[in-house]
Subunit: 185 residues, 2 copies
């Protein structure tokens, strides 16, 4: 039992709802209306909805399939837009609370289901082919990071005009523009 | 007094040290060693150091110059790498504590210095030319968002290999690669 992977991954996953709450709770509405990319991007509210969808349909259901079916059956495709209709009229604080509760449940389930000896077990992704339990759980953590970073881009976008000429120095704004080339860090 | 700008901007600025603490405090070291971009990028520790530098040398000193000198004198250029030598041997928790204390002080100073009537006052940036107090304060907030998002890219980078084939779906990892084209949201 010397592989720190499960403990490290869980440490990150536990933090995400707390970070989202610390960032968004009580933040004035003026920050919350802008999508991460102009046009079809997601607002912070959409992102929390998408994180809820992934708790419901993605990570633990797929871990269960790896343990039960191995590579004999491909994972169900995951609906990236499930939140759009489901969350109509749900307030941002209620969404954050739902995400917190679900994440807590799913981490309890993870501890029951998966031990260090299961990390190399293999399942089948409908597009990517064979994937391991370790890759699934690492992706769970990086998916959190990716989407919380998306919240940051959305928040920044609401000040896109307000920063004036400084925009040229702010990669998080430059990258939101259609056709932008990757900005330096 | 109907312009919500100062209250909204302050609400974001107050959150940043709390968010950074919630995200990084107690996070296993395995997450903290990777830079946001391979090679010359910054680790989460570097980012906190840079945020400290900006509290010391950038925002409030420039606000004071706008109020005192207007456009008659250009801002001092800001050293983006001041943290590298200054923070040698300082632990991440000590850096976060320093950032929290400085941010608290600088927000107190902001409230003393700047009222709604000052937001259109003008100063001179050494490269960008005339800028307003409002643009300076908006940039303070977006600079926070930009650099905390950079912490997210660094954390994600430490799982770059672990996610296996899923990397193709994770924009936060794809964008770290040199020469990557902008990924969809």
């Amino acid at each position: 039992m010397n592989d720190p992977f499960l403990a490290e991954t869980t440490a990150l996953l536990e933090r995400t709802p707390r970070v989202v709450r610390t960032l968004l709770e009580g933040l004035p509405d003026g920050w919350l209306d802008t999508p991460d990319t102009p046009g079809d991007g997601w607002t912070p509210r959409d992102v929390v909805g998408h994180l809820i969808s992934a708790e419901l349909d993605d990570w633990i259901p797929r871990a269960e399939m790896i343990l039960r079916d191995g590579t004999s059956r491909a994972f169900e495709p995951f609906d990236r837009f499930a939140h759009v209709e489901r969350d109509v009229g749900v307030s941002p604080p209620a969404l954050i609370e739902r995400f917190e509760a679900l994440r807590r449940e799913q981490l309890t389930r993870l501890r029951e289901l998966v031990g260090e000896g299961d990390l190399d077990r293999v399942g089948r992704h409908p597009e990517l082919g064979e994937v391991t339990m370790r890759q699934l759980l690492a992706t769970w953590a990086v998916h959190d990071l990716d989407h919380v970073a998306q919240i940051y881009a959305a928040l920044a976008g609401s000040y896109d005009a307000a920063v004036g000429p400084w925009k040229a120095y702010l990669g998080i704004l430059v990258r939101r523009d259609p056709g932008s080339s990757p900005a330096p860090a």
